[in-house]
């Protein structure tokens, strides 16, 4: 030990290693400490560069979308229909309305079903069926979204035609596994002590779930659902095969091609006309802002819970 900790030979040679009181200075580094300091700085530097490189695409996407899209965003963009692509002006009212209409229905189908599945998995399941549901939910999370579009296309389009309802079904299928898995985690976080307390007061299993478990998990369930909505709102591939797209506001539920923001962006950017492309950037930026709002809302709901429990 003394060989590398003892720096007496250096202090004998003098130098800045003694304090005013004659004690060994803290600045007199021992053993391999100088090399360790260099290694530490080197690694910190490398990691910082890696982080910056990782953030670069994200920053570029946000920056460039804002740069290209900001000029288009005005009140008219949100309330006017899109003119033919070569013409200036107008907006994505069709897309905003279509997305809201489709999402409303998708939420209506996927959130109750997803939470109900999670309740089954956490409160009732435990056997082979629950394991199978978990497995297929995981598979569904990773399924390419065009498959979902194709499936709904084959199942519904023949009978109902393109439109709001098939699109909502496709988006709901994409959101369902995300909601189920996040809701399952949230329900698992509810302590058994609360379930026991409720049962000991004479509440049945169903009553305990409705009056104790769900209220306790509610903010978490809302956060999970919000993140699923953020995912669903940007889906494009399944909409190509189900909503088809429109440049004017469509109020029909079935049998009339419906618009959506990502779909309108996809169509607009494909045209050889500057005006249509400009509007597509505006649509992309507003979609990004919508998702941002969703995620912030989800975080905010989540943080409110931690405060209340703490």
């Amino acid at each position: 030990m003394s060989t590398f900790l003892d720096s007496s030979d250096r202090t004998e040679r003098g130098g800045p290693s003694r304090t005013a009181t004659g004690h060994r200075s803290l600045r007199d580094k021992q053993g391999n400490a100088p090399w360790r300091t260099i290694k530490n700085r080197l690694c910190t530097g490398l990691l910082t560069v890696a982080m910056a490189l990782g953030m670069l695409p994200l920053a570029l996407i946000i920056g460039y979308t804002a740069y290209r899209g900001a000029g288009v965003l005005d009140v008219g963009f949100f309330v006017e229909n899109e003119p033919p692509w070569r013409r200036d002006g107008g907006g994505y009212a069709a897309g905003f309305f279509g997305t809201a209409y489709i999402m409303l229905h998708a939420i209506l189908y996927s959130v109750p079903l997803g939470i109900a599945t999670a309740i089954y998995l956490v409160e009732y399941g435990g056997g082979k069926l629950a394991m199978a549901i978990r497995f297929f939910t995981d598979v569904m999370t990773g399924i390419p979204s065009i498959f979902v579009g194709l499936f709904v296309y084959g199942l519904l389009i023949g009978a109902l035609g393109f439109g709001t309802f098939p699109a909502a079904v496709a988006i709901a299928i994409i959101m369902l596994p995300i909601i189920t898995r996040s809701a399952e985690e949230m329900l698992k976080l509810v302590p058994d002590e609360w379930r026991n307390a409720s049962r000991a007061l004479g509440a049945g299993k169903a009553t305990t779930i409705v009056r104790t478990v769900l209220p306790a998990a509610a903010p978490g369930l809302a956060t999970g659902s919000m993140l699923a909505i953020a995912r669903g709102i940007g889906e494009t591939a399944p909409l190509i095969l189900t909503a088809l797209g429109s440049q004017v506001v469509v109020t029909a539920f079935t049998d009339a091609a419906q618009s959506a923001i990502p779909l309108q962006v996809y169509r607009g950017i494909n045209q050889p006309f500057e005006a249509g492309i400009e509007r597509a950037w505006g649509g992309a930026l507003s979609l990004f802002l919508l998702v941002l709002i969703m995620v912030i809302l989800a975080r905010w709901i989540g943080s409110r819970t931690t405060k209340r429990r703490g």
Partner: protein, 277 residues
């Protein structure tokens, strides 16, 4: 969930409650996933008395307590045999609703477990559940007064039950349990998570509640058993069976005074004298 019960409907009706007994346990045994946790428990628990269940860890005292209001059924793989009679009725009979058993026989847990709602809503939970019609505010106040918590929470009825101290939370849980007007309150080591001052408050409370309720308390603390209980049941781990598994069993049940000063079983005497193990 399977429940072995030797009681038939005919014998249930004939069996009159013996003098002052709320619970009559006959040959009660309890197992989890095939492993017997406790067996050969036969005892009568008296009305408006405090009965303490004591014994070393793993002796099955908490299991016996949870048998009394069928809470152990919530543990997967749990199985009960023998008979538990409550006021002469077999609580495991096919036509008995476990929810009704638990409404009559309340429970306070080891770890204070108020719901993550307001103080008021915690106490009102049971009455609301049972469709209480009437002066809910008055009932909540009454219950909080009986556990000595009213003056401390009077002005924060709307704030979270989880914001209270550990001792206050446990008294809130007792208030919540008595709000459904049970006959019996089961307490599973209610003070083990509390400091000595909060423990004393709970013990005082047990003495006051004794007049209105039958109280059965599991405790690891022998001084506590000696302080609060009228009757004491001593459990211990029995002899190993052929596979080496040792199930808990009831060793001795008598007045607390007898158990602590003049126990008839050597194992009881050793345990209360601190010579166990």
């Amino acid at each position: 969930m399977m429940i072995d019960s030797q009681a038939t409907h005919a014998s249930r009706d004939e069996a009159a409650p013996s003098d002052g007994a709320v619970f009559e346990l006959t040959d009660v045994a309890c197992s989890y996933g095939g492993l017997t946790a406790v067996r050969d428990v036969t005892m009568n628990l008296g009305r408006n008395r405090v009965t303490a269940l004591i014994g070393p860890s793993g002796c099955g005292k908490s299991t016996v307590l949870r048998c009394l209001n069928r809470m152990n059924e919530l543990i997967p793989g749990a199985r009960v045999s023998g008979t538990v009679r409550y006021n002469g009725e077999d609580i495991h009979a096919a036509d008995i609703d476990p929810a009704e058993v638990r409404r009559r026989i309340g429970m306070v847990f080891q770890k204070p477990n108020p719901f993550p709602v307001s103080v008021y809503d915690n106490v009102a939970f049971g009455p609301r559940l049972n469709g209480f019609r009437g002066d809910l505010d008055g009932l909540v106040e009454d219950c909080l007064r009986r556990v000595g918590l009213w003056s401390e929470v009077e002005h924060k009825l709307r704030s979270s039950g989880l914001a209270l101290s550990g001792g206050q939370q446990q008294r809130l849980c007792i208030a919540r349990a008595i709000a459904v007007e049970p006959d019996v309150v089961l307490m599973d080591e209610p003070c083990s998570a509390l400091d000595p001052i909060a423990t004393l408050a709970i013990e005082d409370l047990i003495q006051q509640l004794k007049d209105s309720y039958t109280i059965i308390i599991v405790t690891h603390n022998m001084q506590q058993a000696a302080r609060v209980s009228d009757m004491t049941a001593f459990f211990s781990v029995g002899d190993a069976d052929s596979s080496g598994h040792r199930a808990g069993t009831l060793i001795e049940f008598d007045t607390t005074n007898t158990i602590f000063t003049n126990a008839s079983d050597q194992r009881t005497e050793d345990y209360v004298a601190g010579r166990f193990g």
